[in-house]
């Protein structure tokens, strides 16, 4: 008790010291300090100019890649030199590692941006013609001008094949995931191990399996349906593993609360667990779709090759977008390659679309409602909005 009363009494007594005591500066532990910016800037400009002088002018060398590798090595050396003016050994090593790590991140980002931009730049000539989206290549050869022919047949094929694989693999995958997370038991453990093994099946082996089952064994012939089945083999394990994770994130308290109210297990799953996990389950499906929509190798084996428009996935070979891109890149004609890049842009756009949808829908944690859902719930409960 006494100590607490002494402390405040002591506070007002010192009057002189605060004026002379230096105000301690806030220590920065992250962010861009002024000397970091200065050192990096000095090293960067020094490296580029020195590399130009040495590599292009004085040494008997030239070339783009070599120049940049040389400049990067110089940059690291200069950065170490500049940093050691203010920092000790540990600080210099820290800064060097930071530079290397940031470079790796930059390489990663620029690889993705490079691929997307490169595809778009090479495909934009094809995309500029409306017939590219409305025609097929049935009546125009691979060297036909860009104002003839298009990817309509491929888009139809991709749409149908993906739709069939979704119809096959989503109910199967979701039901299996529900079994794994809600029913449990000895069989569930076996199924989980087998699903793990199924994720390891290379897509080409999945194609080979459907080829020997549907085409050699059942004698069905190549078709869009066979391609869809091969895609399903790749999609089912993705849906199961993602959906199981999402279902496991549903708080156990919700299940227990529901069961304590006297519901059956089925009612708990149908009215509590699945609605709570709905955004995550939609994400699982969309990620599965994004995964298979560009899958080429199984389709290559079982869909057959044609340029004709084929609406019927059950009979006859059917084209699809990945196959169109692949056929284009196997053709050493500039127009065909441009068309392949155009189809690639469409394929990329579809992947990004599904991906963005998955992010928007699945971004929330299970159980958190969107604003619209909150309003709807409030209206149903009779609360004033």
């Amino acid at each position: 008790m006494t100590t607490t009363t002494v402390a405040p009494a002591e506070a007002p007594t010192p009057a002189a010291p605060p004026a002379t005591r230096p105000v301690p500066e806030r220590i920065r532990i992250g962010g861009l300090g002024p000397d970091l910016v200065l050192h990096v800037g000095v090293a960067l400009s020094g490296a580029i100019s020195l590399a130009w002088l040495l590599y292009e002018r004085m040494l008997p060398t030239s070339g783009t890649i070599g120049f940049w590798i040389f400049a990067y090595a110089l940059f690291l050396i200069l950065l170490v030199a500049a940093s050691s003016t203010t920092l000790d050994r540990l600080g210099v090593i820290d800064r060097l590692v930071g530079a290397l790590v940031a470079t790796a991140g930059l390489v990663m980002v620029s690889a993705l941006v490079g691929i997307v931009v490169f595809t778009f730049v090479h495909g934009k000539d094809a995309l500029a013609h409306t017939n590219f989206f409305k025609d097929t290549m049935a009546y125009s050869g691979p060297d036909a001008a860009l104002d003839q022919g298009g990817i309509y047949a491929a888009m139809v094929g991709t749409l149908e094949q993906v739709a069939i694989s979704v119809v096959v693999s989503v109910p199967l995958g979701l039901a299996t995931a529900v079994y794994l997370s809600e029913v449990r038991g000895r069989l569930a453990r076996v199924v989980r191990v087998v699903v793990q093994a199924m994720t390891a099946v290379p897509t080409i082996v999945a194609g080979l399996f459907i080829y020997s089952l549907v085409i050699l064994q059942l004698g069905h012939g190549r078709s869009g349906l066979a391609a869809a089945l091969a895609l399903s083999v790749s999609m089912v394990p993705v849906v199961i593993t993602t959906a199981e994770v999402v279902l496991r994130l549903v708080p156990n308290g919700l299940r227990e609360a529901s069961l304590a109210l006297g519901t059956t297990q089925w009612q708990t799953v149908w009215r509590v667990v699945l609605p709570t996990a709905r955004p995550g389950l939609v994400t699982a499906v969309l990620l599965g779709v994004a995964r298979i929509i560009g899958e080429t190798s199984p389709v290559l084996l079982v869909a057959g090759s044609t340029n004709e428009l084929n609406y019927d996935p059950r009979h006859g070979p059917q084209l699809s977008l990945p196959l169109f891109v692949f056929n284009g890149l196997r053709t050493p004609i500039d127009v065909a390659i441009t068309r392949a890049f155009g189809a690639g842009v469409v394929l990329l756009a579809l992947v990004v679309l599904f991906f963005a949808l998955a992010r928007i829908i699945g971004g929330r944690t299970p159980g958190r409602l969107s604003r619209r859902q909150q309003r709807r719930l409030a209206r149903r409960l009779g609360a004033p909005t």
């Binding site: 390489v107 690889a111 039901a175 080429t296 990329l348």
Partner: protein, 334 residues
Amino acid sequence: MSAETPPTLELVRPVPQRRSLSSRPTTSDRVFVSGSRLAAIATLLIMGLIGYFLTVGAWPALEQQGWQFFTEKQWLPETGQYGIAGLLEGTVLVGVIALIVAVPVSFGAALFISEYAPPALKRPLVTLVDLMAAVPAVIYAIWALIFLQAQLLSVAQWLSVHLGGALPFLTVKTPDSPSSYTSSAFIAGVAVGFVIMPTITSIMREVFSQAPVGEREGAIALGATKWGMIRAVVLPFGRAGIIGGIMLGLGRALGETIVVYALISPIFDWTTHPLESGTNTIAAHIASRYSESNGNAFAGLLAAGMVLFAFTLVINTAAGIVVSRSRSGAATEI
């Protein structure tokens, strides 16, 4: 006094019945459980069918060739002389080159995203990496064929001319002609490296970001630099994730078909000079030969596919065990 106690109370109180704790499932529950079990069994059945068709289909080839199937480099089913020794070596070589390219970049990128990137950049970067993993392989293939190959030719030539003396496996037969560097295991490996980069990065990043905050702060409070903190806390905690991520990347690289098939020119021998044109992998071989194969040749392809599957299965399972055993990666999903 005591005689007045009313005995009736004892009689009125009902004898408590022992209530059974186990309940009989209702009809709807029975339907639900058996329905979902049916789906699980259907999944098992699909996997069983895959195994059955691969084994039964591959049997004639394995029976005819015996152990020779694993030691023969040539692929001449017409003469009964075929095996996967050459394919297997090419597959592993391309996978290893892909790892050499992908692992340093992925490691650095994962560290950058989880430790160095400003908080506002973190989420976009994670999304970007996931998006890169979703880009179809055929896009990587056409990009590598048109763009990357041209860039890599000069690199391959430089490596061959300048380092070929010290490292003889880097030499090629005609070092002056650029065409002797095209369609090589090196180029295919680098392209596959770009394909597996996002996979490795996202697993490593996830594990790094799970390193405990308390110990990070402890390291910083003791005066460690950022790199000191990473070396003392993040990397030890993420070691299993690093290994698991690399193994999963390898599994993906071994099964990669379309990128390799689009880039290489097939040969049936051991690729001892990775910079020189020509190599082959199991997946690319299946894609290029399935249509002209029947009978024993197709059985051979199925057997090759089975071997590939066995490889990826072992690698993926081991990676899964490593990642799940790690203290940090308890919640990592593959």
